[in-house]
Symmetry: C2
Subunit: 184 residues, 2 copies
DNA sequence: GGCTCCATGTAAGTTGTTACATGATTCA
DNA sequence: TGAATCATGTAACAACTTACATGGAGCC
Protein backbone atom coordinates (compact mmCIF):
# COMPACT_ATOMS: atom_id res chain seq x y z
CA UNK A 1 0.00 0.00 0.00
CA UNK A 2 2.94 2.33 0.36
CA UNK A 3 3.72 3.03 -3.29
CA UNK A 4 0.30 4.55 -3.82
CA UNK A 5 0.93 6.80 -0.84
CA UNK A 6 4.36 7.73 -2.13
CA UNK A 7 2.64 8.79 -5.36
CA UNK A 8 0.07 10.85 -3.47
CA UNK A 9 2.87 12.58 -1.57
CA UNK A 10 4.66 13.36 -4.80
CA UNK A 11 1.44 14.82 -6.22
CA UNK A 12 1.27 17.20 -3.25
CA UNK A 13 4.11 19.15 -4.83
CA UNK A 14 2.32 19.49 -8.16
CA UNK A 15 0.11 17.53 -10.58
CA UNK A 16 2.14 15.03 -12.62
CA UNK A 17 1.80 12.40 -15.30
CA UNK A 18 2.84 8.79 -14.78
CA UNK A 19 5.91 9.54 -16.84
CA UNK A 20 6.86 12.47 -14.60
CA UNK A 21 6.39 10.34 -11.50
CA UNK A 22 8.52 7.54 -12.91
CA UNK A 23 11.36 9.95 -13.61
CA UNK A 24 11.10 11.44 -10.15
CA UNK A 25 11.13 8.00 -8.59
CA UNK A 26 14.31 7.33 -10.50
CA UNK A 27 15.90 10.37 -8.91
CA UNK A 28 15.28 11.90 -5.46
CA UNK A 29 12.57 9.68 -4.03
CA UNK A 30 14.20 6.65 -5.61
CA UNK A 31 17.07 6.68 -3.12
CA UNK A 32 14.79 4.87 -0.74
CA UNK A 33 11.83 3.77 -2.84
CA UNK A 34 12.05 2.20 -6.30
CA UNK A 35 9.21 1.83 -8.77
CA UNK A 36 9.07 1.07 -12.48
CA UNK A 37 6.76 2.92 -14.79
CA UNK A 38 4.46 -0.09 -15.23
CA UNK A 39 3.78 -0.27 -11.52
CA UNK A 40 3.21 3.47 -11.32
CA UNK A 41 0.66 3.41 -14.13
CA UNK A 42 -1.19 0.57 -12.42
CA UNK A 43 -1.26 2.42 -9.10
CA UNK A 44 -2.49 5.58 -10.78
CA UNK A 45 -5.41 3.66 -12.28
CA UNK A 46 -6.23 2.28 -8.83
CA UNK A 47 -5.98 5.70 -7.21
CA UNK A 48 -8.25 7.16 -9.88
CA UNK A 49 -10.82 4.42 -9.23
CA UNK A 50 -10.69 5.17 -5.52
CA UNK A 51 -11.23 8.84 -6.29
CA UNK A 52 -8.02 9.83 -4.53
CA UNK A 53 -6.63 11.45 -7.68
CA UNK A 54 -8.28 12.97 -10.70
CA UNK A 55 -6.82 12.89 -14.17
CA UNK A 56 -6.79 15.32 -17.06
CA UNK A 57 -5.63 14.44 -20.56
CA UNK A 58 -3.30 16.99 -22.10
CA UNK A 59 -3.13 16.65 -25.88
CA UNK A 60 0.25 17.10 -27.54
CA UNK A 61 1.28 17.43 -31.15
CA UNK A 62 3.26 14.54 -32.55
CA UNK A 63 3.53 12.89 -29.14
CA UNK A 64 1.33 10.57 -27.08
CA UNK A 65 -1.05 12.54 -24.91
CA UNK A 66 -0.03 13.19 -21.35
CA UNK A 67 -2.40 12.13 -18.58
CA UNK A 68 -1.80 14.45 -15.69
CA UNK A 69 -2.96 13.45 -12.22
CA UNK A 70 -3.72 15.65 -9.24
CA UNK A 71 -4.62 14.70 -5.69
CA UNK A 72 -8.26 15.22 -4.69
CA UNK A 73 -9.59 16.36 -1.26
CA UNK A 74 -10.62 12.73 -0.74
CA UNK A 75 -7.03 11.68 -1.46
CA UNK A 76 -5.79 14.32 0.97
CA UNK A 77 -7.92 12.83 3.71
CA UNK A 78 -6.76 9.31 2.93
CA UNK A 79 -3.17 10.51 3.09
CA UNK A 80 -3.72 12.19 6.45
CA UNK A 81 -5.18 8.97 7.83
CA UNK A 82 -2.23 6.98 6.56
CA UNK A 83 0.17 9.40 8.25
CA UNK A 84 -1.40 8.47 11.56
CA UNK A 85 -0.51 4.78 11.24
CA UNK A 86 2.69 3.69 12.99
CA UNK A 87 5.64 2.75 10.77
CA UNK A 88 7.64 -0.46 10.82
CA UNK A 89 11.43 -0.47 10.71
CA UNK A 90 12.29 -1.58 7.19
CA UNK A 91 14.20 -4.79 6.76
CA UNK A 92 17.39 -4.77 4.87
CA UNK A 93 17.17 -7.64 2.36
CA UNK A 94 20.91 -7.59 1.73
CA UNK A 95 21.81 -10.50 -0.54
CA UNK A 96 25.50 -10.14 0.16
CA UNK A 97 24.91 -11.05 3.79
CA UNK A 98 23.18 -14.26 2.80
CA UNK A 99 26.08 -15.08 0.54
CA UNK A 100 28.51 -14.49 3.38
CA UNK A 101 26.53 -16.99 5.45
CA UNK A 102 27.72 -19.56 2.91
CA UNK A 103 31.33 -18.57 3.42
CA UNK A 104 33.95 -21.29 2.96
CA UNK A 105 37.56 -21.24 1.72
CA UNK A 106 36.53 -22.20 -1.83
CA UNK A 107 34.43 -19.09 -2.41
CA UNK A 108 36.34 -16.64 -0.26
CA UNK A 109 38.10 -14.94 -3.23
CA UNK A 110 34.78 -14.54 -5.01
CA UNK A 111 33.09 -12.92 -2.04
CA UNK A 112 36.07 -10.69 -1.33
CA UNK A 113 35.93 -9.44 -4.88
CA UNK A 114 32.21 -8.80 -4.63
CA UNK A 115 32.69 -6.90 -1.37
CA UNK A 116 35.33 -4.74 -3.04
CA UNK A 117 32.98 -4.07 -5.93
CA UNK A 118 30.22 -3.05 -3.54
CA UNK A 119 32.61 -0.82 -1.64
CA UNK A 120 33.28 1.14 -4.84
CA UNK A 121 29.60 1.34 -5.71
CA UNK A 122 28.72 2.72 -2.29
CA UNK A 123 31.56 5.23 -2.40
CA UNK A 124 30.19 6.58 -5.65
CA UNK A 125 26.67 6.83 -4.32
CA UNK A 126 27.84 8.57 -1.19
CA UNK A 127 29.79 11.13 -3.22
CA UNK A 128 26.71 11.76 -5.33
CA UNK A 129 24.48 12.25 -2.29
CA UNK A 130 26.99 14.58 -0.67
CA UNK A 131 27.12 16.70 -3.77
CA UNK A 132 23.33 17.01 -3.80
CA UNK A 133 23.47 17.91 -0.14
CA UNK A 134 25.92 20.74 -0.74
CA UNK A 135 23.98 22.02 -3.72
CA UNK A 136 20.52 22.04 -2.24
CA UNK A 137 20.57 21.68 1.52
CA UNK A 138 23.66 23.53 2.74
CA UNK A 139 21.88 25.07 5.77
CA UNK A 140 19.15 22.65 6.84
CA UNK A 141 18.06 24.77 9.83
CA UNK A 142 17.05 27.57 7.47
CA UNK A 143 14.90 25.47 5.16
CA UNK A 144 11.11 25.56 5.05
CA UNK A 145 9.37 22.73 6.89
CA UNK A 146 8.52 20.93 3.65
CA UNK A 147 12.11 21.08 2.44
CA UNK A 148 13.39 19.83 5.78
CA UNK A 149 11.45 16.64 5.06
CA UNK A 150 13.30 16.28 1.77
CA UNK A 151 16.59 17.06 3.48
CA UNK A 152 15.99 14.27 5.98
CA UNK A 153 15.48 11.79 3.16
CA UNK A 154 18.82 12.61 1.65
CA UNK A 155 20.43 12.67 5.09
CA UNK A 156 19.21 9.13 5.73
CA UNK A 157 20.69 8.07 2.42
CA UNK A 158 24.06 9.48 3.42
CA UNK A 159 24.04 7.88 6.85
CA UNK A 160 23.11 4.48 5.42
CA UNK A 161 25.78 4.69 2.73
CA UNK A 162 28.38 5.62 5.33
CA UNK A 163 27.37 2.69 7.52
CA UNK A 164 27.49 0.33 4.55
CA UNK A 165 30.88 1.63 3.52
CA UNK A 166 32.26 1.09 6.97
CA UNK A 167 30.83 -2.42 6.95
CA UNK A 168 32.52 -3.18 3.60
CA UNK A 169 35.86 -1.97 4.93
CA UNK A 170 35.57 -4.03 8.09
CA UNK A 171 34.52 -7.08 6.10
CA UNK A 172 37.57 -6.80 3.85
CA UNK A 173 39.83 -6.38 6.88
CA UNK A 174 38.35 -9.43 8.55
CA UNK A 175 38.25 -11.70 5.51
CA UNK A 176 41.47 -10.75 3.77
CA UNK A 177 44.12 -13.40 4.32
CA UNK A 178 46.79 -11.79 6.48
CA UNK A 179 49.77 -10.90 4.29
CA UNK A 180 53.00 -11.54 6.30
CA UNK A 181 54.97 -9.00 4.25
CA UNK A 182 52.59 -6.29 5.49
CA UNK A 183 52.66 -7.03 9.21
CA UNK A 184 55.29 -5.62 11.60
CA UNK B 1 14.61 -15.84 -5.95
CA UNK B 2 16.67 -14.97 -2.91
CA UNK B 3 14.54 -16.57 -0.22
CA UNK B 4 15.08 -19.99 -1.74
CA UNK B 5 18.81 -19.34 -1.67
CA UNK B 6 18.63 -18.16 1.91
CA UNK B 7 16.97 -21.46 2.74
CA UNK B 8 19.66 -23.42 0.91
CA UNK B 9 22.32 -21.54 2.84
CA UNK B 10 20.59 -22.33 6.11
CA UNK B 11 20.45 -26.00 5.14
CA UNK B 12 24.23 -25.98 4.69
CA UNK B 13 24.54 -25.88 8.47
CA UNK B 14 22.29 -28.92 8.95
CA UNK B 15 19.10 -30.52 7.59
CA UNK B 16 16.01 -28.77 8.89
CA UNK B 17 12.23 -28.85 8.72
CA UNK B 18 10.16 -25.92 7.52
CA UNK B 19 9.31 -25.25 11.13
CA UNK B 20 12.99 -25.12 12.10
CA UNK B 21 13.74 -22.76 9.24
CA UNK B 22 10.87 -20.46 10.17
CA UNK B 23 12.13 -20.19 13.72
CA UNK B 24 15.65 -19.49 12.54
CA UNK B 25 14.40 -16.82 10.15
CA UNK B 26 12.69 -15.21 13.10
CA UNK B 27 16.01 -15.02 14.90
CA UNK B 28 19.51 -14.59 13.49
CA UNK B 29 18.90 -14.50 9.75
CA UNK B 30 15.73 -12.53 10.28
CA UNK B 31 17.66 -9.36 11.15
CA UNK B 32 18.02 -8.78 7.45
CA UNK B 33 15.64 -11.23 5.81
CA UNK B 34 12.08 -11.91 6.93
CA UNK B 35 9.94 -14.85 5.92
CA UNK B 36 6.74 -16.34 7.29
CA UNK B 37 6.25 -20.04 7.60
CA UNK B 38 3.77 -20.16 4.70
CA UNK B 39 6.31 -18.74 2.32
CA UNK B 40 9.01 -21.06 3.58
CA UNK B 41 6.84 -24.15 3.04
CA UNK B 42 6.07 -23.01 -0.50
CA UNK B 43 9.74 -22.46 -1.29
CA UNK B 44 10.64 -25.85 0.13
CA UNK B 45 8.13 -27.50 -2.19
CA UNK B 46 9.64 -25.63 -5.13
CA UNK B 47 13.18 -26.54 -4.12
CA UNK B 48 12.17 -30.18 -3.79
CA UNK B 49 10.66 -30.11 -7.29
CA UNK B 50 13.87 -28.64 -8.65
CA UNK B 51 15.82 -31.41 -6.94
CA UNK B 52 17.89 -28.89 -4.97
CA UNK B 53 16.79 -30.37 -1.66
CA UNK B 54 15.59 -33.79 -0.66
CA UNK B 55 13.07 -34.45 2.07
CA UNK B 56 12.65 -37.15 4.66
CA UNK B 57 9.57 -37.60 6.82
CA UNK B 58 10.31 -38.17 10.48
CA UNK B 59 7.35 -39.72 12.29
CA UNK B 60 6.61 -38.50 15.80
CA UNK B 61 4.28 -39.76 18.49
CA UNK B 62 1.35 -37.50 19.25
CA UNK B 63 2.67 -34.74 17.03
CA UNK B 64 2.47 -33.91 13.32
CA UNK B 65 5.30 -35.58 11.42
CA UNK B 66 8.36 -33.50 10.73
CA UNK B 67 9.52 -33.18 7.12
CA UNK B 68 13.23 -32.64 7.24
CA UNK B 69 15.01 -31.16 4.21
CA UNK B 70 18.66 -31.47 3.24
CA UNK B 71 20.53 -29.81 0.40
CA UNK B 72 21.49 -32.10 -2.52
CA UNK B 73 24.68 -31.95 -4.64
CA UNK B 74 22.53 -30.41 -7.37
CA UNK B 75 21.42 -27.74 -4.90
CA UNK B 76 25.04 -27.16 -3.92
CA UNK B 77 25.94 -26.46 -7.53
CA UNK B 78 22.98 -24.12 -7.96
CA UNK B 79 24.05 -22.26 -4.84
CA UNK B 80 27.64 -21.92 -6.09
CA UNK B 81 26.38 -20.47 -9.36
CA UNK B 82 24.20 -17.99 -7.52
CA UNK B 83 27.16 -16.87 -5.43
CA UNK B 84 28.88 -15.82 -8.63
CA UNK B 85 26.15 -13.35 -9.59
CA UNK B 86 26.79 -9.72 -8.63
CA UNK B 87 24.63 -8.29 -5.84
CA UNK B 88 22.54 -5.14 -5.93
CA UNK B 89 22.58 -2.59 -3.11
CA UNK B 90 19.28 -3.11 -1.32
CA UNK B 91 16.82 -0.28 -1.26
CA UNK B 92 15.58 1.00 1.99
CA UNK B 93 11.79 1.23 1.68
CA UNK B 94 11.50 3.46 4.72
CA UNK B 95 7.89 4.57 5.08
CA UNK B 96 8.77 7.23 7.60
CA UNK B 97 10.79 9.08 4.96
CA UNK B 98 7.81 9.18 2.62
CA UNK B 99 5.69 10.53 5.44
CA UNK B 100 8.26 13.23 6.10
CA UNK B 101 8.00 14.25 2.45
CA UNK B 102 4.44 15.23 3.30
CA UNK B 103 5.61 17.42 6.17
CA UNK B 104 3.50 20.47 6.98
CA UNK B 105 2.74 22.32 10.22
CA UNK B 106 -0.53 20.44 10.74
CA UNK B 107 1.10 17.03 10.99
CA UNK B 108 4.40 18.01 12.55
CA UNK B 109 3.44 16.88 16.08
CA UNK B 110 2.30 13.51 14.71
CA UNK B 111 5.54 12.90 12.84
CA UNK B 112 7.67 14.07 15.74
CA UNK B 113 5.90 11.58 17.98
CA UNK B 114 6.42 8.80 15.44
CA UNK B 115 10.10 9.65 15.14
CA UNK B 116 10.44 9.46 18.92
CA UNK B 117 8.72 6.10 18.92
CA UNK B 118 11.06 4.80 16.25
CA UNK B 119 14.06 6.14 18.15
CA UNK B 120 13.08 3.97 21.13
CA UNK B 121 12.45 0.92 18.97
CA UNK B 122 15.87 1.20 17.33
CA UNK B 123 17.58 1.72 20.69
CA UNK B 124 16.09 -1.53 21.89
CA UNK B 125 17.11 -3.43 18.80
CA UNK B 126 20.61 -2.09 18.97
CA UNK B 127 20.95 -3.14 22.62
CA UNK B 128 19.74 -6.61 21.70
CA UNK B 129 22.22 -6.92 18.83
CA UNK B 130 25.08 -5.69 20.99
CA UNK B 131 24.27 -8.27 23.62
CA UNK B 132 24.33 -11.05 21.01
CA UNK B 133 27.62 -9.69 19.77
CA UNK B 134 29.20 -9.85 23.21
CA UNK B 135 27.86 -13.31 23.85
CA UNK B 136 28.85 -14.98 20.62
CA UNK B 137 31.34 -12.93 18.68
CA UNK B 138 33.58 -11.25 21.22
CA UNK B 139 36.77 -11.87 19.21
CA UNK B 140 35.84 -11.88 15.52
CA UNK B 141 39.41 -12.33 14.31
CA UNK B 142 39.57 -15.69 16.06
CA UNK B 143 36.40 -17.13 14.58
CA UNK B 144 36.23 -19.81 11.90
CA UNK B 145 35.59 -18.56 8.39
CA UNK B 146 31.98 -19.71 8.47
CA UNK B 147 31.32 -17.94 11.75
CA UNK B 148 32.94 -14.77 10.46
CA UNK B 149 30.17 -14.68 7.87
CA UNK B 150 27.59 -14.81 10.64
CA UNK B 151 29.47 -12.17 12.58
CA UNK B 152 29.36 -9.83 9.60
CA UNK B 153 25.59 -10.21 9.39
CA UNK B 154 25.17 -9.10 12.96
CA UNK B 155 27.76 -6.37 12.50
CA UNK B 156 25.77 -4.95 9.60
CA UNK B 157 22.68 -4.96 11.78
CA UNK B 158 24.49 -2.96 14.43
CA UNK B 159 25.89 -0.41 11.98
CA UNK B 160 22.48 0.12 10.37
CA UNK B 161 20.77 0.54 13.71
CA UNK B 162 23.39 3.06 14.81
CA UNK B 163 22.95 5.03 11.60
CA UNK B 164 19.18 4.97 11.97
CA UNK B 165 19.43 6.08 15.58
CA UNK B 166 21.62 8.99 14.65
CA UNK B 167 19.17 9.93 11.94
CA UNK B 168 16.26 9.89 14.40
CA UNK B 169 18.17 12.14 16.79
CA UNK B 170 19.06 14.59 14.05
CA UNK B 171 15.49 14.59 12.76
CA UNK B 172 14.13 15.44 16.20
CA UNK B 173 16.70 18.20 16.60
CA UNK B 174 15.79 19.68 13.24
CA UNK B 175 12.02 19.41 13.54
CA UNK B 176 11.49 20.24 17.18
CA UNK B 177 10.17 23.76 17.56
CA UNK B 178 12.88 25.78 19.28
CA UNK B 179 11.90 26.31 22.89
CA UNK B 180 12.93 29.87 23.92
CA UNK B 181 13.17 28.88 27.59
CA UNK B 182 15.94 26.43 26.66
CA UNK B 183 18.15 28.68 24.57
CA UNK B 184 20.80 31.07 25.97
C1' DG C 1 -10.39 -23.14 30.62
C1' DG C 2 -7.43 -20.71 27.89
C1' DC C 3 -2.73 -20.08 26.13
C1' DT C 4 1.35 -21.37 23.79
C1' DC C 5 4.04 -24.77 21.35
C1' DC C 6 4.54 -28.15 17.75
C1' DA C 7 3.94 -28.86 12.63
C1' DT C 8 1.99 -28.61 8.31
C1' DG C 9 -0.46 -26.59 4.90
C1' DT C 10 -4.33 -24.07 1.30
C1' DA C 11 -6.42 -20.00 -0.78
C1' DA C 12 -6.96 -15.40 -1.92
C1' DG C 13 -5.09 -11.26 -2.55
C1' DT C 14 -1.39 -7.57 -3.09
C1' DT C 15 2.79 -5.98 -4.71
C1' DG C 16 6.46 -5.92 -7.77
C1' DT C 17 9.23 -7.65 -11.99
C1' DT C 18 10.06 -8.90 -16.77
C1' DA C 19 8.78 -9.09 -21.24
C1' DC C 20 6.34 -7.19 -24.92
C1' DA C 21 3.97 -3.42 -27.65
C1' DT C 22 3.49 1.09 -30.19
C1' DG C 23 5.28 5.14 -32.75
C1' DA C 24 6.89 9.78 -33.75
C1' DT C 25 11.10 13.01 -32.70
C1' DT C 26 15.55 14.37 -31.91
C1' DC C 27 20.45 13.79 -31.66
C1' DA C 28 24.97 11.85 -33.05
C1' DT D 1 21.49 4.27 -39.28
C1' DG D 2 20.89 3.64 -34.73
C1' DA D 3 19.87 5.17 -30.21
C1' DA D 4 17.53 7.84 -26.81
C1' DT D 5 13.47 10.51 -25.35
C1' DC D 6 8.57 11.01 -24.90
C1' DA D 7 4.34 8.53 -23.29
C1' DT D 8 1.26 4.97 -22.31
C1' DG D 9 0.02 0.55 -21.51
C1' DT D 10 -1.02 -5.21 -21.25
C1' DA D 11 0.20 -9.93 -19.81
C1' DA D 12 2.54 -13.27 -17.42
C1' DC D 13 4.94 -14.33 -13.69
C1' DA D 14 7.37 -14.16 -9.10
C1' DA D 15 7.39 -12.80 -4.35
C1' DC D 16 5.13 -11.86 -0.32
C1' DT D 17 1.05 -11.13 3.01
C1' DT D 18 -3.15 -12.25 5.35
C1' DA D 19 -6.59 -15.19 6.55
C1' DC D 20 -8.03 -19.65 7.50
C1' DA D 21 -7.51 -24.65 8.91
C1' DT D 22 -6.25 -28.70 11.92
C1' DG D 23 -5.28 -30.96 16.42
C1' DG D 24 -2.83 -32.94 20.31
C1' DA D 25 0.52 -31.70 24.42
C1' DG D 26 1.79 -29.25 28.18
C1' DC D 27 1.51 -25.21 31.24
C1' DC D 28 -0.78 -21.96 34.58
Amino acid sequence: MALSHAILVSLLDRPQSGYDLAKRFDQTVGYFWKARHQQIYLELHKLAKLGWVHSETVPQRARPNRIVYAITPHGQRALDEWLRLPTEPPNIKEELLIKLFALKPANLPLLLEETRRRLCAHRQRLAQYQQLMQQHYAQPAQLSLRRRGHYLGLRMGILIEQATLQWCEEALQLLMPADPSQSA
